[in-house]
Amino acid sequence: MKVVKDAREALQGLESGMSVMSGGFGLCGNPEQCIKTLAESGIKDLTIISNNCGNQGRGLAALLQNRQVSKVICSFIGGNPDLATQYLAGEVQVELNPQGTLAERIRAGGAGLGGFFTPTGVGTAVADGKELREIDGRLYLFEKLLKADFALVRAAVGDKLGNLRFYRTSRNFNPLMAMAARVTVAEVDTLVEVGELDPDDIHLPGLFVDRIFEASHENPIEHRTVRTREAR
């Protein structure tokens, strides 16, 4: 059975020194319960693979504040003072990837590919030490797959086989990471019985998910931008 009681049970086997992928773009679509449980666990020396690794002191930033992270593989650290400070102080190693490269490296990891050639980063610091190849007259550089020990993902609806359906822009890196780890943990807003999800509506087939549990989510807003209705 893939269904587990809570995040604590879902994270069994996650130990210090491991690599962990965490879905989410900023604070949107984060596996909030897994992050919270990890922050309380005392596990350290983690390599975190995530687009932002937290933001505004929240989300994965809690792990940074607890000094549980030794390396971050991400694409953007703006708006994340914890990471910027520890990076500049040399306390955390940061590997910056172009966002599309990060996504595709994870996809490659899950899809059984060794890597891929991309034009992104040619002629920049990203190309340092990487193989260049001219293909049909254009220069590409080689980017290697990314895998992890654990992937922590979040979806709106999941069934007991691990089939997942995402909601709005909470999808982002979640389905990609779910494919690329030795153990994939999914926390879902709503856990349903097998057969309740229409097969056409399943965004990620359950074979990628090892453990699943239902959890409530705060869905914090980073930048609350609204407009006002004009008076009629």
């Binding site: 773009f25 949107c28 953007f76 172009p98 966002q99 490269t101 992104t120 609204v226």
Partner: protein, 211 residues
Amino acid sequence: MSWSREEQARRAGAELKDGDIVNLGIGLPTEVANYVPRGIQVMFHSENGLLGMGPFPYEDELDPQIINAGKQTVTLAPGASLFDSALSFAMIRGGHVDVAILGGLEVAQNGDLANWMIPGKMVTGMGGAMDLAGGAKKTLVMQTHTSKTGESKLMDRLSLPPTALGCVNRVITELGVFDCCGDHFLCLELAPGVSREEAVARTKGELRFAG
């Protein structure tokens, strides 16, 4: 006299064509969404996984799980679609996005763009900028013409680490509109009250004028 930020955004909006798929960078480029010319339909792509981004929500339709790449709450326009980050960047790298409008720290006359770091001062990471600058069919940059200390940001060659090479087609600053032509910038338009002499004096690259 020069253009205000709003006027810069309006001028950038005038670059859009009916049917364009458009990606707007964080900051000033985001404002361009408010200045799509009348009678023109475009679709905004947001690299976190949304094609068909609508305006900011009214208070009663606010949804924390609908955000743009700047992590601002937005809405879904009619015809919107949602997808994962790999598919989103396949759209970008694959040349399926017509226009990227990005912020810049420096642009060189050969189209090189720097906008992701200042050594020793600022590290934010490149996010999606490297993919966008190189992948969109057309790349427009919106930036100030000079730094706060008066240094030109339109360069003969970049002084900052590049984001992508040879990618910028056009730069819109508070002084005017400039095309990257390889060995020079071509000024297509000056903001009201800006003289050719001023534009030349504030441009480090070679500046030529149309007409």
